[in-house]
């Protein structure tokens, strides 16, 4: 067999092992080592079996991951998220937004969406948002007589916005994978993120206006709350969190701090916030610290594996086979984008975003040049696309989390069908981004093109 054939075999074998359910990071490392040992073998390899270029390569890739200044932001953002998650802020946040939105059509659902978006943006952790809101807002909506499907869709879709709206960890990880500026990527994701959140809100309001039975107006008990009450409620819950997020994001976008510096400030701010809400004790701090360590290790070991694997894969000539394959399809830029996004959409069924971004996206990255696609633009399409992976079976994590905490009479199929319109809105957003690339590229161009 020729080397490129071995390379393709390596990729096929890897996908097979992933499907068997073995921890992916270690599969990548071991396959990189085994195939690399073969690829770099010298004719007299058997005389000195411990002398092979794969060994320095492996440790060099490991050290590259360890000294990556982009990835330094990962544990800091995770830590910030775990602290915010434990800061008892969600109840107040939801109540204050609900008060402020009480006169809108579908007010509870709108409040849920906004709460989800804000909280998910601050924490960046999908599961926690969905379960917490599933216990808080979901029963409130059902009690108010909201349609089960609508209520489910709102919680599931809203909880996923945190991985798109910056400062999101997914974008940091993509930036590290693609070797592009995380700052530019954040600027690029801002409008698409708000656009998608806006679509969700408009959709819910529209449905509520067309068919009020889906989202009945709340029965007001007693006199309506005074403007003062509402303002105070917002000032003590909505504003502190919004200011924290905006400070982190602003510092990054205006170049005052690197993403990891801003993440450190955000983590410190979240500790202060938790202390102000009297939610900071040693037990919670410990939990946040340990979870940060585990999740960071999970993400960064994937990087070690992926970078080692892909060095060997391209040394064997696997990348050029993939490139020739795509070039031979003769599909043009649109065809390429549709095909790659379709593949990523399908990968989202069995896999989670970490694996998709760190392992499979790098296969497409070298092709972007051939098809003249901006890696920043591609990244936003991927980030949008991955929103759907949480809500499409068989591995619809958001739906499973909600099912786990929902009242027993709620069926999984109801949750799926409730999420479906939101999945379509993600597709709509992707089409709009493609037709009007300015939604993505205008802000980074405006901020970072020297004039």
């Amino acid at each position: 067999m020729s080397n490129p054939e071995i390379g393709i075999m390596m990729l096929g074998l890897f996908i097979f092992i992933v499907m068997l359910g073995f921890p992916i990071a270690f599969t990548l490392i071991a396959m990189g080592v085994i195939f690399g040992y073969y690829a770099y073998a010298t004719p007299d390899q058997l005389d000195h079996i411990f002398d092979n270029r794969i060994f320095p390569l492996l440790v060099q890739k490991t050290f590259e991951v360890m000294s990556s200044d982009v990835l330094t932001a990962v544990p800091l953002f995770l830590f910030m998220g775990y602290v915010v998650e434990r800061s008892n802020i969600l109840d107040r946040l939801f109540n204050s937004i609900q008060l402020a939105a009480r006169n809108m059509p579908g007010s509870l659902a709108v409040a849920t969406l906004i709460t989800c978006a804000l909280f998910a943006t601050a924490t960046g952790i999908v599961g926690a948002v969905v379960t917490l809101m599933g216990l808080l807002a979901y029963p409130a909506m059902l009690r108010a007589g909201y349609d089960v499907r609508l209520a489910s869709g709102v919680v599931c879709a809203g909880g996923c916005l945190g991985i798109l709206i910056p400062p999101s960890i997914l974008l940091i990880v993509y930036a590290a994978t693609a070797g592009i500026s995380a700052v530019k990527l954040y600027a690029a994701a801002l409008f698409p993120g708000f656009m998608l959140a806006g679509f969700y809100v408009l959709y819910v309001m529209g449905r509520a206006m067309l068919n009020p039975a889906l989202a009945p107006k709340l029965v007001q008990e007693g006199p309506p709350p005074s403007l003062r009450t509402v303002t105070m409620a917002l000032l003590t819950s909505f504003f502190p969190l919004a200011v924290l997020i905006l400070a982190v994001l602003g510092a990054i976008l205006f170049g005052l701090a690197t993403p990891s510096e801003a993440a450190a400030i955000g983590a410190l701010g979240s500790l202060v916030l938790a202390a102000c809400y009297r939610a900071l004790n040693f037990e919670r701090l410990r939990e946040a610290v340990f979870l940060t360590a585990r999740t960071t290790a999970m993400v960064c070991y994937l990087f070690i594996g992926s970078w080692t694997f892909s060095s060997v894969f391209s040394y064997l000539g696997g990348h050029s086979v993939v490139e020739e394959f795509f070039a031979g399809l003769d599909i043009g830029t649109i065809g390429f984008l549709i095909l790659t996004q379709l593949i990523i959409f399908l990968l989202g069924w069995p896999l989670e975003w970490t694996e998709i971004i760190i392992i499979f996206v790098p296969i497409f990255l070298p092709l972007l040049k051939t098809f003249e696609v901006d890696p920043v633009f591609f990244g936003i399409l991927v980030a949008l696309n991955i929103q759907t992976s949480f809500n499409t079976p068989p591995m619809a994590m958001a739906a499973y989390y909600l099912k786990g905490v929902a009242p027993p009479q709620v069926r999984l199929t109801q949750i799926f069908s409730g999420s479906l319109p939101f999945v379509f809105m993600v597709f709509l957003a992707m089409v709009l981004v493609y037709v009007f690339p300015g939604i993505v590229l205008w802000l980074p161009d405006y901020l970072y093109t020297p004039r």
Partner: protein
Amino acid sequence: MIRLLFFVDQLSAWIGKSFGWLILVLTLGTSYEVFVRYVLSAPTTWAFDISYVMYGALFLMAGAYTLSRNGHVRGDVLHRLWPPRWQAGVDLTLYVIFYFPGVLALCYAGWNFAALSVQFKEVSIFSPAGVPIYPLKMLIPAAGILLLIQGLAESLRCILCLRTGVWPARMADVEEMETAIMHAEEARRSGAAAGDAR
């Protein structure tokens, strides 16, 4: 046997958690750098190096701890549907073929890499402060050895499961919030159901 497993788990967890606390040093150190740069206009010469040394040490040494909690991501769509004996058999085979070669290579290559760095007491090239980085490089083989030990413990788990048909217990530890909530909710419901039955 179980005691040996728990001892290894505890070792990995203790080391991983200890290094986990570096996140506080990372948070405070980096925040301090931003503070002195803007408020005092006197940036430090060491903050950048310290930040990546802290981050690198943190995640590298938490690898075995994460493995002991089954926290490394896996595509388990099919895996979770199989009976435990199947899962254990497949896992054990894959540990032998697709775990130990990589981890052993990490130990071996990491050792050579670190030994060279220690020999001339390597310092960081990014800053004039001369922050030593050979301790960080020494952690690579150390993490490799920890992963090796934890991998042996995981293989032992598979063997125990193959024998008895059930997975040996893991030690209790802090869970992701969604997992903790789902477990609490499940327990509440089964408790309520048991109450109804009575």
